[in-house]
Symmetry: C2
Subunit: 225 residues, 2 copies
């Protein structure tokens, strides 16, 4: 019982539709939420064979991406602490007909609400349905942003934006990622990333080493934008 | 008054949330809907400066696309008779932060519900809000389909799919479009379209003439897929 009350408090904090639920509906949710941990780079949701439910991110970061039949990845967006992932419950959103992959980009602590509970509440309560689709539309905006970058922006700008964002996100001037990983995040190929980083290095924007990429001249990187 | 009653009947036919509206809400909608016509290739909605409202397509076809600063177009999806266009009211959907362009791909007869009426009803009635976001999520699925085609599929397949779809859509074996127009629809460049059509022609899949493209061998085109 104590466990249920604890879940009540947690869910109320994260879910804006909480006060529109009846007491039995609150109980259904609280009985169907459980904690899970994912370590960095592990898979959370694997395309169409998966429908693990709605995920509340308590800490960490998730990366959502497309995966082609030939193994090419294109990153769509990332979610962090306090955000709710809905595409992991896409099977219960009838107007979603595509599938994505979701990995832990950093170690994640999450609350997972299983799909059947989400589905039942969406059918019973219009506020839950509106919330789910509103959240999906927020991801639609994220995807459109990524799409415009990939389709319209030259790669030097995209890579500069990525390096600067990553620095401010981690509050460090050193980015500890491989060229392969950066390629996945920027929807590019490893060779293209390596070539552009070599150019950035020759211009003195960055310094490349085995440990990663050190940003030397953010001001001139920003001038590329 | 007769005019209002006519609008009631039309709106009831197209809008699934109609029966969840109060009588005053129905009246607001009926007072804020008007008919409009757009001839083929005219602009209906022009990016961020525009918010013309929700559009019910009575007949014709609309094309929604992205437009880059340099004038490059990428078609996202098309909507036809009986469908409702919501991205033309994106300013009243708070989780939509991108802008698209919408043209008439064929002559269109539409019912236009102005944005302020849509906005007011979304605030007053949760069923309208859920409908709007659910519809936006349907467009999200369309965009993801287009994105996967553009990012992952080789252009011979994409062009074959486009030609076959266009034939079945128009119920004709002749496609009366320029290479430039086909490039816009397939998110490609005119030169690429011309080169691939020349190849298709040399293989005997199609016949090229000034009037358009005639499909000669649909069976072998389908084998490309």
């Amino acid at each position: 019982m104590e466990h249920l009350e604890q879940n009540f408090m947690l869910l109320e904090k994260y879910l804006p539709f909480w006060n529109h639920l009846s007491t039995p509906q609150k109980t259904i949710l609280a009985q169907n939420v459980f904690s899970a941990s994912y370590s960095r780079d592990s898979h959370i949701h694997l395309g169409e064979n998966d429908c693990i439910g709605m995920l509340i991110i308590k800490s960490g970061e998730m990366r959502t991406y497309l995966l082609s039949e030939t193994g090419k990845e294109v990153t769509l967006y990332r979610l962090g602490a306090g955000e709710v992932c809905i595409l992991s419950a896409s099977c219960v959103l009838h107007t979603i007909t595509f599938d994505v992959y979701i990995d832990a980009a950093r170690d994640c602590e999450i609350l997972q609400i299983n799909s059947s509970a989400v589905s039942r509440l969406m059918e019973e309560n219009i506020h839950v349905e509106a919330y789910a689709y509103k959240l999906a539309t927020e991801r639609f905006s994220d995807v459109m942003w990524a799409m415009q970058q990939i389709l319209f922006m030259s790669f030097d700008k995209r890579l500069a934006i990525f390096l600067l964002d990553e620095c401010s996100r981690t509050k460090s001037d050193i980015i500890k990622m491989t060229h392969e990983q950066i390629a996945k995040y920027t929807g590019s190929a490893r060779e293209v990333v390596s070539r552009m980083l070599k150019y950035f290095s020759s211009e003195g924007f960055v310094e490349l080493s085995r440990g990663g990429i050190r940003l030397l001249d953010k001001k001139r990187l920003k001038e590329l934008l």
